[in-house]
Symmetry: C2
Subunit: 374 residues, 2 copies
């Protein structure tokens, strides 16, 4: 079952959405195959809430494809829906290369990394209500940005619309308020992973983000794949984490979830970057331990993004901010056009393979619609 790539929510014409398991270009109708109410739901949340033992038993029950033949539906015939009802959405900033590039571009002349960066996985809360499933069009946002020198700010459609290529982690089982979740309990809480596009309006963000962080520059949309790949499918990609210097505090020590996920970012079908997730400085289990270290509780459907995945080479940069160096080095596309930031009609697609296996994470894609008229 090597090409299995996760659980999602699908529907056929005239039928209600329910849980499916993708197997290559087929979808197992899990509700029909296992006959359980928890799969006859329009989100994965009830299944996710049922806990790790149930996740494992379900996987076992779905391993014998031959017995499932009559429950297979061609992928091409189904409509895919947002797989989870997102509870809280947190976005981290855990690639050293991305954070350093962003610092160099946005705060030239200063030390690129802030003093806290190597001590904790910097993150912030994003808008859960505007997380959309892959394929949903993304409307270019209006927003405030800096005006001409000395003049008032403008309110206009964003002129610097960007993507950030990320991996997202989905919480299945919640936790109690006041009780931190240690690194060692990662698998008891996190169900699986998605690919994620953190759409970012750089001009809105640059004006608004001091001192309380990104808000409207990010909150108009975040896209995730339609398929959530369970952790057991990712274990083939487990690798040694990168060295952390200085060594992290004890509550962040000894991470186990560095993953060799190999991303490809395509702009209008042309691959513009191949970021490698294994170079991330902070890992998903460290992020979860940090997120809950103050006693903040987890809920089923919590989603957290890794932050932009960028490598050291420009061919591994996970955002146009870095790929075009904030517009100074336009990209050339095969059709002869050039890009600094996204244009209306552009389509961004992120795909990824799990290490050197043939397991694919569900791809995530979005196309830019023109801003609303005034």
């Amino acid at each position: 079952m090597a090409s299995d790539s996760g659980y999602g929510i699908f529907s056929l014409p005239g039928e209600t959405p329910r849980v499916g398991l993708r197997v290559g270009d087929q979808v197992v109708d899990v509700a029909a195959a296992l006959g359980d109410e928890v799969f006859r739901q329009p989100t994965l949340n009830p299944f996710l809430a049922s806990g790790r033992r149930r996740w494992d038993r379900t996987r076992e029950a779905l391993t014998d494809l031959s017995s499932l033949a009559r429950y297979l539906v061609p992928l091409a015939e189904v409509t895919l829906h947002l797989p989870i009802e997102v509870a809280d959405f947190v976005d981290f900033y855990s690639s050293l290369e991305h954070a350093a590039n962003a610092g160099r571009i946005l705060r030239p002349g200063e030390e690129p990394l802030k003093p806290n960066w190597r001590h904790l996985p910097v993150g912030y809360h994003g808008r859960a209500g505007t997380v959309v499933v892959s394929g949903t069009p993304v409307r270019r946002p209006w927003g405030q940005r800096v005006g001409p020198a000395g003049a008032a700010p403008l309110f206009a459609p964003s002129g610097r619309l960007d993507f950030e290529a990320e991996v997202g982690f989905v919480v299945g089982a919640g936790s109690s308020l006041g009780q931190p979740v240690p690194l060692s309990a990662f698998r008891d809480h996190v169900f699986g992973a998605v690919l994620l596009i953190d759409w970012s309006a750089r001009d809105i963000q640059a004006w608004e983000y001091v001192p309380l962080g990104p808000f409207l520059g990010k909150s108009f949309a975040t896209s995730i794949s339609a398929w959530v790949v369970p952790l057991d499918q990712l274990s083939a990609a487990l690798v040694a984490p990168v060295d952390q210097e200085p060594p992290p505090l004890p509550y962040l020590a000894d991470p186990a979830w560095a993953l060799d996920l190999r991303l490809a970012v395509a702009l209008n079908g042309h691959v513009v970057s191949r970021p490698g997730f294994r170079s991330m400085y902070w890992t998903a289990d460290q992020q979860l331990a940090h997120l809950t270290s103050n006693g903040a509780s987890l809920r089923t459907g919590d989603l957290y993004g890794s932050g932009t995945v960028s490598g050291t080479d420009p061919s591994e940069y996970g955002s146009l901010l870095e790929l075009s160096w904030n517009g100074q080095r336009p990209l050339s596309l095969p059709d002869g056009s050039r890009r600094t930031y996204l244009e209306d009609g552009d389509t961004v697609t992120i795909s990824a393979t799990v290490g050197d296996t043939d397991i694919q994470l569900g791809e995530v894609s979005g196309t830019i619609q023109p801003a609303l008229p005034l």
Copy 2:
């Protein structure tokens, strides 16, 4: 019905939680009185989602107290629950006095207000999953903070635990992704108001917040009142908004929802501050218009906080950061003790009256529990 102070979720011993309307020291069992499924629910969300017409009709149906006598339950006998399932939680920063004080204290020597502050209501997303109802104990969080000069950061219980006194607004009817909600549509979307305590660990916040804003310094808990007061009950407090200079951009122009709400903040039963909400620079309708100006959609249960309510006089400061000037001027309490920040066992309570009426917003209160042992 002048002392009516809002809708909430109550239960009696052995019964399931359902919608109640508070009338002084009584609670109307709304489900029993109106016999409708939408009130026989453990959160207000289904009622909120039903829209403004239904909110108005319900108020009308509940105005004749004499006909409701047999549906009254003494407030003292009920258990109160979190009234809403919080969708997204946003926290603003809209008191000029608070923002200027925070700037002076946290960034001495710099201009206290950032260049964007007078052009937009600065805000950020907080953690929806840790919003708790008034009366829920608040555990002192552990977290990273700056270590001694030149040394590594510490991980320890917060030593600078604070409150921020705020007013929160609850979204009833949602909106469509991509469609901004103008100021004029405020009443079609916002159902009512609560009082809110934004618990803040200043030492954790100071170390983590650059460049992406507050995260674990705030995410461990946010408390709200058990009663949501509908907007029609607040209209007695409508006042002229403060002058805004420079004039706001057109999408933020002509606010109508400046409110004369008179807060009182008590520490262990002793009033330490009386912030006036009417002095807020940005109003609730401006906050909603800004929040959606990029096309971000609203959902039933969205909650947004005003930001700390502070006036010009120290007797009107809405946080210990300001009241103790970051610990430099300890407060004296009637029992002879002094406070810079909160100690274990301290209880913070915020109450408020609607203008010079006898309408009270539901109070919000929380008591600090000691940090977990290591």
